[in-house]
Amino acid sequence: MRNVGAGKKRKLSIFMRYALSYMLVVLVLLSAVVAYLYRITERQVRDNLVSAQINRLTRIAIQQEGYISAMLNTAEEIGLNPHIEPFRYDEEPWKAYDLQLQLVPYTSTNPFCDQVYLHFSGDDRMYSSASSMTVDLFAELMRYERTDPEELKALIQGTGRLTVLPAQRVVSNLVDGSEPRMVTFVLPLGAHPGTSKGTMLFLLKESTYQSMFADAIDGEINTYIFSGEEVLSATEDLEISPAQARETPENGARYRVFQENGRSYLAVSLGRRSWDLSYAAVLRMEDVNSAVHGSLRGTLAVFLILAGVGLLLAFWMARRHAKPIRDISDLLAEDGAERRDELQQISTGIRQLTRRNSELISRLDSALPMQRHDFVFRFMKGRFRSREEAVAAAKAVGLEIDREYYAVILCGVPENWDWPLELNCPPFDRFREVTGTGVELVALKGILYLVFSDRPEQLPELAEAARRAGNEESGGCATAISALHRDFSEAPSAYLEAATAYDDRFIRGGEAVLSYDSISSNVAGILPRAQKITHAISQALAMGSREQLDSRISELLQFLKNSSMSPFAFRMIYNDVIDTLTRSQAAALSSGRDAREFYDIFSLSSCQSIDDLDELLRRLCDSLLTDAARESADAPADPEDEMDQVVRYMEEHFSDPEISMAAIAESFGISTTRLSLSFKEKTGMTPLEYLTQLRAQRARELLVGTDLTIREISVQVGYYDSGSFIRRFKQVTGETPLQYRRSQSPAPAPANGTEAPEEEK
């Protein structure tokens, strides 16, 4: 509904704008065409009318001139007739009888003439084929309306020049009918006017001319035949002055338009022709325009049809063109926002998108190291189900890892030294074909580099470069490298290899890169025995026999204790056992899910003693047995047991920043609702509260037990940003991490007290 009180005029929709624009274009184009057609048609119709009148006048002229020619021929023939010789009636009256007989055929050859008279020079008589009379009597009997008898006599007795008496009323008993109008031609008798024998009079009734004019078109029209300045004959339907019709059009035109008595007329002239005769026709411009409009009606009908089709087409095109814009506008519209002009909406939407994109890019840029950190951990934990998934995830954080080989490098980091995590800066920037990134391992006080390359030789070279750089900085920086791997699923193994090799630093120091391949041969003597026991554990695990498993684990631990092996060998065997168990059990699970995803490889590899290993192995085997049992039972899991697993899972993964209710529920194949309810029923708190508790607990440990910064601790406990960490930590503990550290730390707080950590601002 139109908001009248809004005061601001609502803009038209994009469809209406298109429709109006197209319709306007169609109408303008068609109007231009119609205007052009009108001009053409008007000119053509007028030309046709003029041509018709010209043809008509020409026809009249030809007929009129034919009459005159016939009369001239008659006069010439009579003049040349040897039987017709001039005589004087008073001297030779008997010749009048012969003359009349001779005149009979000439009269019949001019049927258009009402009367034909002959007069000989020097005689006083007028002769026709039926009568004769004196010139005086003729002049007396033929009472012309505008010609004086004396003038008539003078014409008859004159030199015989062609003279025309225009149509006028003639009252005479010599003329049939009641007072007819006659046109009189006086012609010389003979071939040459100078040698004429007399004169001839031809009287034509004006009805002869009226029959000439009778072919006029419908409507009122005046037609004139002028003899010099006088109207010889005319038919007049319009009340205008003949002088207007007589006026010749200028510049050789065939017609002219004039005004008289406030009305417009079209005068068509044929111009002067033989014997000083001219012809003209006058039409009313209203009739001309009426003819034009009549011709245009058809054109207008076509125009209307075209306009209708054009408008429909414009409507259709507007709709077609407006639709995508409207769709874009709808896409960009904010939910619940008032619907506004589409273009303005698009403009606003694009501005918002641009701004959000900028924000997103900014956030992505700031979170990239975190994300890469997360990627490396997920990669190392074997979280990716396929190579493609890992490649895609790496690409998302700006890493191209789709290389033939990869390795894990662990570097001991000198204190207070800003060791580069990225490979695009010295000392790694010269290895352009190597991709990868580094993450800081707080527990190891070192950095883990995950590196990829198609050239296998470059990876050890890169490790060597790191070692040298570390040595140059501190003089004793251990660097270890795993074996080279191709399969991404072997990432946890690669880490264990690197960690194993790194553990050898205590013996070999930082003089050379600690390579797993090179050191593994040192324990060749004890490894088969260990592998045999490990195999037995795997078999017990496969059999699901807890007793055998305990027995095998005890056997392994006994072997390790009795072997008096070096820490490195212990580590080697220990890592191999972990790797074998998780790998073999994963293959045994029908779900296809890698069992290792349930375990944090970093936690598994963190045992420091035989007892730690004993506990770790028994817990791992118990977990693996539980998975197998759940798999084989093919029955809904017991919610309580399931929640135990969730609790355990959360305890193992709380440091993962991507852990969430949805991720946990998805991992366990249950809904988030069920997870939340069952979890709360089991633990008395929601999964999120429990997760926060776990993270807070771990954070307390790190705050008190390490010198890690708040930012570092927040990452360690699974927060992307320190702000969230601080906020959550305060919710759980009632104080900020820094306050907690200060409260738990025996050392006094900084004297100035103003150097509040950045995270707390």
Partner: protein, 515 residues
């Protein structure tokens, strides 16, 4: 036949029975005429008459029960239409007015019904009685003795074409009597010429104003002064019953000689040779003429004022001659004929005879009774009003209808207009004065039947002879009569076939008289 077929047959039979009953009822009913005929109807060239819609013929249909469908034919197409009607074999029942060659279609080809036989049986009672009383049966009897046509006759007793009229005002002015002899007339004319009877002091009087070659205003009537009844056919019947050729008469040259004298003395208007009747009328209407001849004075081209100056004059007698003017007579025109294809001759004759009933006949000529025609207390009919512009043709056929009124009968039932009475008076005067030829030349030229060949031959001969006669007359009158030109005239006439011309007339006259 199937049941369905039988049912259809019964239905058809019932329908036919009903149709038959309906037709019989129609015949017995009063609606519609009993007889319907077709007619080829003559129509004047300049007249558009809707004969099928004329009130008069509706009246006839009501009176006779005969309906006639007219096919109107203009004058110019009449001959060809009649020929075509007879040639194509689908003749109309009736042929009405115009002209018809009864010798060809009746006598020779037997395509017309002999009406005399029907009259003998009592048909056409009105017409037959009037014809019998008029004594004009001869004119309508064909060469085989039968009458194939009904006549059309409006007899007003006109026995003379042109009467002489002398200027009584001038006579009175000069104290002269009406001349009775050629010499007296000559002197009178001289007096007119010299006596300034119009009193204007000028010798502008024209003693004699004539045209040339006819018996109305032309000089032909002047030959009667010398006993020669010169007419436009140049033949007449002499006292012995012989056909004479006028130019061969001595009176012809005598008259020409007298006229030459008149011409030379300026007593005859020199324009008589070539002036037409309109110029003649214009001159006479100038009131400056002493003597002329004309049909009558009233209701003519002459103005009443001028007409009032003149009085009728009997033709004068030349010495040793008795004046003799051509005698006019009533000529019966073609009225109607029945073709042999006529489907109901008795009904056709009943329809025709009804039109000869006196009141019907006068109505057909003059319009409805009480409108333009009235009946006087003495029982005679009289025209009360003549509508302009031929309005009568919208209701009655006028002269295109049937009319047969011999003079005596006509005078007994109809009171003619004043100008017709005037003419009748002149005719009576001339008749009683004995200045008309005994046997009208009309018997030769109009009554005696001619064969087609005779007619054609006479037409050609007359054209040649007339040229010679008129040229000779002009010469004689303007240049004088000599023995040479008289002899030359006779020679030229003989060479042109004057003998054969006269002989043909003699033969057809003898043939007519003998039968």
């Amino acid at each position: 036949m199937s049941n369905r077929g039988r049912f259809l047959c019964v239905l058809l039979a019932a329908a036919l029975l009903l149709a038959g009953c309906s037709a019989r009822n129609a015949e017995e009913g009063p609606a519609g005429p009993a007889v319907s005929l077709t007619a080829l109807q003559y129509e004047l060239e300049n007249m558009a008459v809707d004969f099928n819609g004329l009130w008069f013929y509706q009246r006839m249909e009501e009176q006779t029960g005969v309906h006639v469908d007219f096919e109107d034919v203009k004058d110019s197409e009449w001959e060809s239409s009649v020929s075509l009607a007879f040639a194509r074999g689908s003749m109309p029942d009736l042929i009405l007015r115009g002209s018809l060659d009864v010798e060809e279609y009746g006598v020779s080809r037997h395509l017309l019904l002999p009406l005399d036989e029907y009259m003998k049986k009592g048909f056409l009672p009105n017409y037959a009685r009037r014809l019998r009383e008029s004594g004009l049966e001869d004119q309508l009897t064909a060469s085989d003795g039968h009458m194939y046509q009904l006549g059309f006759l409006i007899s007003q007793g006109v026995n003379t074409n042109g009467h002489f009229f002398i200027n009584r005002k001038w006579l009175d002015a000069l104290g002269l009597p009406v001349p009775e002899t050629v010499e007296e007339l000559t002197e009178t004319l001289r007096s007119f010429r010299n006596g300034d009877p119009n009193g204007n002091g000028l010798r502008d009087e024209v003693p004699m104003e004539f045209t040339f070659d006819d018996n109305n205003t032309g000089i032909y009537n002047l030959f009667s002064f010398f006993g020669l009844p010169l007419n436009e056919e140049y033949v007449y019947v002499d006292g012995e019953g012989k056909v004479a050729f006028a130019p061969e008469s001595s009176a012809f040259a005598e008259t020409a000689a007298w006229l030459n004298r008149m011409y030379r003395e300026g007593l005859l208007d020199v324009d008589f040779i070539s002036q037409g009747s309109n110029i003649w009328a214009a001159k006479v209407n100038g009131g400056n003429t002493g003597l002329f001849s004309y049909w009558r004075l009233g209701n003519t081209a002459l103005s009443p004022e001028v007409a009032g100056m003149y009085q009728v004059m009997l033709p004068v007698h030349a010495a040793d001659h008795r004046a003799c003017l051509p005698r006019n007579m009533d000529i019966i025109e073609f009225g109607a004929a029945l073709t042999t294809d006529c489907r109901d001759p008795e009904a056709a004759l009943r329809w025709l005879d009804a039109q000869f009933e006196t009141e019907n006949m006068l109505i057909s000529q003059n319009g409805a009774l009480g409108d333009t025609l009235i009946r006087r207390e003495d029982g005679r009919y009289e025209v009360s009003y003549v509508p302009p512009d031929n309005e009568l043709y919208r209701t009655v056929p006028v002269i295109c209808g049937q009319f047969f009124a011999p003079a005596e009968y006509y005078a007994g039932v109809y009171v003619p207009a004043a100008h017709r009475q005037e003419k009748a008076e002149y005719c009576r005067l001339y008749g009683e004065a004995g200045v008309l030829e005994e046997v009208s030349s009309k018997y030769l030229t109009a009554v005696a039947p001619k064969t087609a060949r005779e007619d054609s031959r006479l037409t050609r001969l007359k054209a040649k002879l007339k040229t010679i006669i008129d040229a000779a007359l002009v010469t004689m009158i303007t240049q004088g009569v000599t023995e040479e030109n008289t002899a030359q005239l006779q020679r030229q006439l003989e060479e042109a076939g004057s003998r054969e011309y006269r002989q043909i007339y003699q033969e057809l006259y003898d043939r007519w008289r003998g039968e």
